[in-house]
Amino acid sequence: MTLRGLARVLLAYALALVVLSLILWRALRLDRTRAPSGTTIVSLWRGGTRVARSVVTGQAEHVLGLESAVPGSTRSIEQIVDSAPILALNRLVFAASVAPVRDGVSVSYQGRTAYVTPDDLLKIEAYESNLQLGPLQLVLGVDPDKVLASLAGELKTTPDELFRHGSFRRFAVRGDQRFPRRLKDSDVSLAEIKNSVQSAARYLARNQKRDGSFRYEVNAMTGGDAPDYNYPRHAGATYFLARAGNQLKDQRLFRAARQAGAFMKDHATLRCGAHSCVGEGDEVDIGSASLALLAYVELLNGGASEFRDAALDLAAFLRSQQLPSGDFQHFYSVKEQHAINLQVEYYTGEAAFALSRVARISQAAQDLDGARRGLAFLVARPALFLGAHYFWGAEHWTCQVLEDLWQRAPDRRALQFCLDWQAANRNMQYTSPPERPEYDGALSRGPFVSPRLTPLASRLEAAVATLAVARSAGIDAAQLALLEAEIRRGFGFLLRYQFSPGPSYLMPDPRALVGGVPGSPVDLHVRIDYPQHAGDAWLRYLELVEVR
C-alpha cells in the first residue's frame, strides 16, 4: 500500500465512521429538556396494582378523575417529552437501548400502541437486568423478557411475535415525581437525620417475627419475602437496633433488639472447640460471631445482663481464631471441630471491632490487644498495593475500629489510612451538576448503572468514625471540611431514597416498608442490612454531634 493509498483508505474510513455516528446519534438520542409533546399517560394505582390506564393528547387533568376518588387510589400523570426508536436488532441491543429509571418503552403493533412507563418498569422490576453473554454477565438497561411480556400482555399477543413485528420506541416523561424525595444536601438537618434513623430502626422492629428473627429481604414491589437468611446480617441488624434503642432511649427498639439477640443466643449458637460460635450447618464464619458480639455488648450496655456470658465466650472464640500476624482465621468447621485458615473481606475488621467493644466490658487486656493487632494488620499495606490481602473498597469496619480504639490505643497510621480511604471514596462520589440532582452524593458504580445505597452507607459509617478521630487528632480544618461535606452529601442521597414513604402507590403493603432503605433506585428490595448500615451511619453522626 502506498502512502497516498493509505491516506485515502483512512480518510474514507473516518468519513464513513463520522457519517454513521451522526446518523446513529440523531436517530437515537432523546431530549429530556423539551416541552411535553402532547401525549400523556394517566395511570391509576390501587393496592400496588395498576387498575386503569388512559393515554390522551391534550388536557389530562380530569382523566380517570372519578376512579381516583376511590380511597387508596393514586393517579399518576406522565407527559411524554420526547421519544426515539429502539434498535430492536436483537434482545441484547434492545436491553441496552433503555436508560434505567428514566425511560419508558412503547410499541406499535397492528395499529395499536402500548406503553410501559418508568413506574411500570419499576413495578415489574425490569430495570437493570443481568444478561448472560457467554460467560460474561452484563448489566443492561432493562430486562427485555419482562418488558416484552408486559407489552405483549397489553396487546394480547406473544412476546416473540411482538419482538418480531412490533415497532419499539423509548420515551422520556415528566410527571408528578413522588420518589425519590426532592432534597438538597443543605436540607440535611439533624432533625431530618434523627427522624430517619428512628424510622429505619422501626422498620426492623416492625418486620421482626415472633421468634426474634426478621423478614430478611422484603420486596417492596410484591410485598414478598426472600426465602433465605443470613446470621451475620441478623447480628448486624440486632447491633443497630440495640444501639438505636440505647441512644434514642426507645424501649420498643431495645426490646426488639433483645428478642433478636435471644434468637441468636438460643437458636443459632453452636460449639466451636472450647467456645461458642454463631451460625448454622457444618461450618460457621467469624462474621456472625463478631457481629453477634457487637450486638451483645450493646445489649449489655442497655442493661440486658443475660448476654454477658455469651459475649465473653464469643470474645474468647474470636481470640482463638486470631493469627500471630493480627489477622484472623475466618471460618471454623463445626463438623470437624477445627479452624479453617481462609480469609474473605470484612470479617477481620468486624472481629477487631467486636474485640475492641467487648474489651470495655471484659476489661481483659487480651481483648484490647487482639483488636489493636487486628487494626494494625488491616492498615499495613504492602509496597505493591495490588498484592494487598484485602480489597481497598471494603474497609468500613476498619475505620470504626480506629475510632473505638482511639482513646485507648491510638494508631496514627490507621488514621492516615482511613483519611486516604475517604479521599478515594470522595473521588467516586457523584456531584450534581453535572450528575442528575437525585444522585448527588452517591458513589459511582459505573456510568450506566444506578448507584447502590448500602455501599455508600457503610462507607459513611466509616467516614463519621474517621471524622470523630480526625477532630480529636487535630487534623487540619480543610480535611475536616471535606469529610463533613462528603458525609452530608452522602446522607442527602440516602435520605432521598429511604422509604418515607417511597413510591407507596406501587407497593401492596406500603405500611410495612416505611423507614426501609432500598438497595438502589431500581432495586426496591429492603434487606435487613440496608437500614442497618444507613441507620448506623446516621446514628454515629448524631452521637458525634451530641458529644460536641
Partner: protein
Amino acid sequence: MANVSESRARVSFAVLNALVAVILLVGVFGLMHPRFWAVDCPAALLAGVELVSAVALLARLPWALRALSIAAWVTFVGGLLLVALIVLTMVFLRSVHGEDGMVATAVSGLVLALLVPYTLLLPAVQLLWLKGRVGERES
C-alpha cells in the same frame, strides 16, 4: 547500507510483532477470566499470525515478508473494525444515556488511544515499508 537498514527494520518489526502477540496472549488468556470464544478466537488468531511473522522475520525465512504482509493486513483490517465497533458503541451509549454516558465516552476514548498504535499505526507502517521494498526491487 541498504541491507543494514532492511535488517534493522526486519528485526524491529519482528520484535514489535512479538510484543503485540505477547500482550494479546497475556492480556486475553492470562488476565481475562472466564473464557469466551468470541474474544479468545480472534485474539488467538491475531497473536498466532503476529508470532509466526515475528519468528519468520527473525529466522530470515524465505516467506517472512509474505507472513509480515498477512500479519499487517489482518491486524490493520481487524483494527479498523475494532475501532469502528468501539466508536459506534460509544455513540450508541451516549445517545441512550445522554450526559450519564460522558465518563464512559472518556474511558472509551482512552481505550481507543491505547489501541490505535498497535492495531492501526504499526501495521500501516509495515504495509508502507513492504510497498517501499517492492518499489525498490522493481526500480
